[in-house]
């Protein structure tokens, strides 16, 4: 059995909202509960929905191939390591928060105490959040892709070929009765 048109269309409509929600969790990791790991997992859920609606082969044809997920995952880890090494070069040590309260990228000074929060604070923490989010998204999607690649998937031609045979079989039984 192939997946029907309703499920495919509903999944295609839902996936952008799942991606936006995951991106929100990643981007607000230093202000609200959540962060890179959780947001990346939510984004990977959207990829899982696409994979359930369309099987592996159709995903490869219509969307992006699995090698690009490997590339995304490696890029996330490289971004993390490069940000950490930049702390070693610019400031005093590995993973030093060298962007905090400098006025540059994510460099606004944070107000002490209970406050609603400014998105543009916390130095390298949002960058590391994005790096981890990209890495987790790529890793979980690549795992799902690899597992779906081993699945035996029925084609539309097989589906169409099977249906009349089953109907004929049922008809024969009815005749015998």
């Amino acid at each position: 059995m192939t997946i029907g048109l309703i499920v495919k269309t509903a999944g295609r409509l839902l996936v952008p909202f799942i991606f936006i929600f995951g991106f929100y969790i990643v981007a607000h990791g230093h202000l609200t509960p959540g962060g890179g790991f959780q947001g990346g997992a939510v984004i990977a859920t959207g990829v899982a929905l696409i994979l359930v609606c369309y099987y592996y082969r159709e995903c490869m044809e219509k969307f992006i191939p699995v090698s690009s997920f490997k590339l995304v995952e490696s890029a996330g880890l490289m971004l993390f390591i490069c940000t950490a090494l930049a702390g070693l070069v610019v400031a005093s040590g590995f993973l030093f928060n060298w962007l905090n309260a400098t006025g540059g990228l994510f460099g606004n000074a944070v107000a002490y105490g209970i406050n609603p929060g400014d998105l543009y604070t916390a130095g390298i923490i949002p960058i590391l959040n994005f790096a981890i989010g990209i890495e987790v998204f790529g890793a979980l999607s690549a795992v799902l892709m690899f597992m779906f690649a081993g699945l035996k998937e029925p084609t539309q031609e097989e589906d169409d070929a099977k249906a009349p045979v089953q109907n004929m079989h049922k008809g024969k039984k009815g005749v015998r009765k």
């Binding site: 509960p33 490696s74 996330g76 993390f80 928060n97 604070t121 923490i125 790096a131 890495e135 690899f146």
Partner: protein, 94 residues
């Protein structure tokens, strides 16, 4: 059939369960593990995470700033896990 040298005997399991239960019941009789009142790390994180890292979320400050190296290790573990999955689920024939 009971093998002589096997450790998977009911006697051994009972002794193990009793020992673990005694160890977990020790704090009830006044014996504690270590000295939690002597460590000030938790209060330090609560007081200083906002001023030192600039993050309103203390958990995020701990995960990505105070324990950033740990997070790097976690990301590496995930990367190696994906490598293992890619190795197991590789296509040997087209």
């Amino acid at each position: 059939m009971k093998e002589a040298g096997s450790i998977f005997q009911p006697r051994f399991a009972i002794v193990l369960i009793v020992l673990v239960t005694i160890i977990f019941l020790l704090p009830a009789f006044g014996l504690t593990f270590g000295a939690p009142e002597a460590t000030m790390t938790d209060q330090y994180y609560i007081d200083h995470s906002q001023t030192e890292t600039g993050a309103n979320n203390v958990v995020s400050a701990v995960v990505f700033d105070f324990r950033g190296f740990d997070t790097l290790g976690e990301a590496t573990v995930l990367f190696i896990a994906v490598l293992g999955v890619a190795m197991i689920f590789r296509r040997t024939h087209k």
